[in-house]
């Protein structure tokens, strides 16, 4: 049987690459994003690559009041749900966030509050069903606040902690919660950034994510080296850390 997958933020670079892996495996997909035109381009590509079924739903995921209907529509289109994949998020502008609470609040709304709303609804759906996988993209940036992007980082830290707790609650009820913590990945979002030549290949990251979902893992650092890097960074004493330029 083909997997029935809901993808939130389907036009992001990592999400699109992940969907291509699923399409080749003949999965059924509902794609959610803000732009109908972009969703149509992604959907056409996935159909050509072998997806069994693709439907698109246009929604700004900041509108949390629309989430219950959105999930109902997706479940209805797919005739059930096996995997929900949350990939939406914004990088924000650290400098703007330092100057304006509104800018910081926007980052935290999109990266933390919106996923909390979706995860609450989806995990309750999966609990009722007695099974399901909730896979959520957080970030290694959530492991420790750094001056270069602590607003983005703290939104992801909040998300990671929320997912830890949610996993603790629903794991015994048959529901898998996977926290995905990518390091820097080569996508349109990071193109031209300093050192982007060395960033991880998005297709390899996508293949790793699909494998982790299938294996029902809890936490995935991708590429794996980031587990070691972040272990070290978490253990630098604050008296030293605060003086570092990170």
């Amino acid at each position: 049987m083909s997997e029935r997958i809901l993808v939130l933020g389907a036009t992001s670079g990592i999400a699109e690459a992940t969907c291509r892996v699923w399409a080749r495996q003949g999965a059924s997909l509902v794609l959610v994003g803000r732009s109908g035109e972009k969703l149509a381009a992604v959907a056409g590509d996935l159909k050509a690559r072998g997806a069994k079924f693709v439907e698109t739903l246009v929604c700004d995921l900041d509108e949390t009041s629309r989430h219950p209907q959105l999930i109902a529509d997706a479940v209805n289109a797919l005739g059930g749900l096996d995997v929900a994949y949350l990939a939406h998020g914004i990088m924000g502008d650290q400098q703007q966030s330092e100057e304006s609470f509104d800018a910081a609040a926007q980052v935290i709304y999109t990266n933390f509050l919106s996923p909390v709303s979706l995860c609450t609804l989806l995990s309750n759906y999966f609990v009722k069903q007695g099974r399901g996988v909730l896979a959520v993209i957080s970030s290694v940036a959530g492991e420790r606040g750094r001056k270069s992007n602590y607003v983005y980082g703290s939104s992801k830290a909040g998300l990671s902690a929320f997912l830890d707790g949610l996993r603790n609650r629903v794991d015994r009820l048959g529901v898998t919660v996977l926290t995905i913590k990518p390091g820097p990945v080569k996508t349109a979002m990071t193109m031209g950034m300093k050192g982007s030549e060395k960033f991880a290949d998005v297709d390899k990251v996508a293949a790793t994510i699909v494998a982790a979902i299938r294996a029902k893992k809890d936490v995935l650092y991708v590429p794996g080296i980031w587990a070691i890097i972040m272990f070290v960074i978490r253990h630098i004493p604050e008296s030293i850390f605060k003086k570092l330029n990170l």
């Binding site: 381009a41 056409g44 690559r49 193109m191």
Partner: protein, 442 residues
Amino acid sequence: MTGTPPFEPWGRYPKYNATVVPLQWQSDFPAIVSRNGGMHNGALAVGMGRSYGDVCLLKDGNLMVTTGMNRILEWNPETGILKAEAGMTLAQILDFCVPHGYFLPVTPGTKYVTLGGAIANDIHGKNHHVAGTFGCHVPEFELVRSDGTKLICSPTENPDWYAATIGGMGLTGVMTWAKLKMKPIVSRKIDYEGIQFHGVDEFLALTEASKNVEYTVSWIDCSSTGKNFARGVFMQGDHTRNPGELKPSPEPKLVFPIEAPSFMLNSASVAAFNTVFFHKQMKKRVTALQDYEPFFYPLDKVLKWNRMYGSSGLLQFQYAIPWEHAREGTIAILNEVAKSGLASFLAVLKAFGDVPSPGMLSFPQPGITLALDFPIKPGKSFPLFDRLASMTLEFGGKLYPAKDARMTAAQYQTSYPQWQQFLKYKDPLLSSSFWERVTREA
């Protein structure tokens, strides 16, 4: 493009600063043009940056990188027509199409180029004598101008724009998608044959005898003189007719790890390499059943092999000389190279056929083409390049913009007289360092 600014092309020369602007969606251009205040200093759409010289650079301008625009829009397994966004690479097309029993109609020696780049440079392959250029297999594409105009181009719809854009070096607008007519195959294997030869006349005789073989190309030793002058290996192949595996060849694993010190590539080491390569094939004639990967892309196996030439880089010199002077021109140029004592590792000789290119400014024309690469040593290799360029023009030939970084404006304008006709189709926002160099003065 490779690396962070300053940007460098595949040959790593020249290097220029530029701003990177990703084009990820078909609607991004020209929306980003107005968003960025008209993009001062101009713009150029680029793909993988695999052109050797400055045709994929724009000094201090905006490089719009199209590789995120790599979606399949339509696929018809009956007709073999693929409609895809222009940033899809030939590697990605092969990964998709080989399992369906289709192969690229024309492929260059690397699969790491984009569909848009292949059309913009109207590239050619080992089957030029039977299949013509890449553009011959592109029934339709969309061109978007910086003022927002969209043009569907085909041999019958906007045919003048079609002709200007194929081989138009990305200067007529941004290509958002293109259709490509793929070629059916029954196996990923190639029936290969390698034949040793001595001299240009033997090469020409083998070329004549292999008219009906789809793929032919020759490696030639251009460091030897005397009785070994212009010795080489004539390589030919056809897609095998015996049904077999239709899985893409596996991805290369090797990455050339470091920048080689330039002393590693001197005339002695190249002469040694050439001798080994010539005699690697022990017999006069060998046959083999080969995967398409080593047959078409032997160098892709060593990703970033351009590092072999160190940070100063390499430059290719590729000419096309019409049949009228092809034999004498080739002998004269090979003599000049051998005499210079400068080493070329990868000298490739091939006869172009007479299938006409659809492009106004396309490089291939009936005759002989020779590609040589040299490490860049400004005091030594540049004077040789300049001599070879003048000789090429004297023999009625022309150089390949995708591999050039040295041609003078006068040389370009003499050998590509259609350039003035082309000006009518050039987008006012788009330019390249190549274009600025060759149109600067008369």
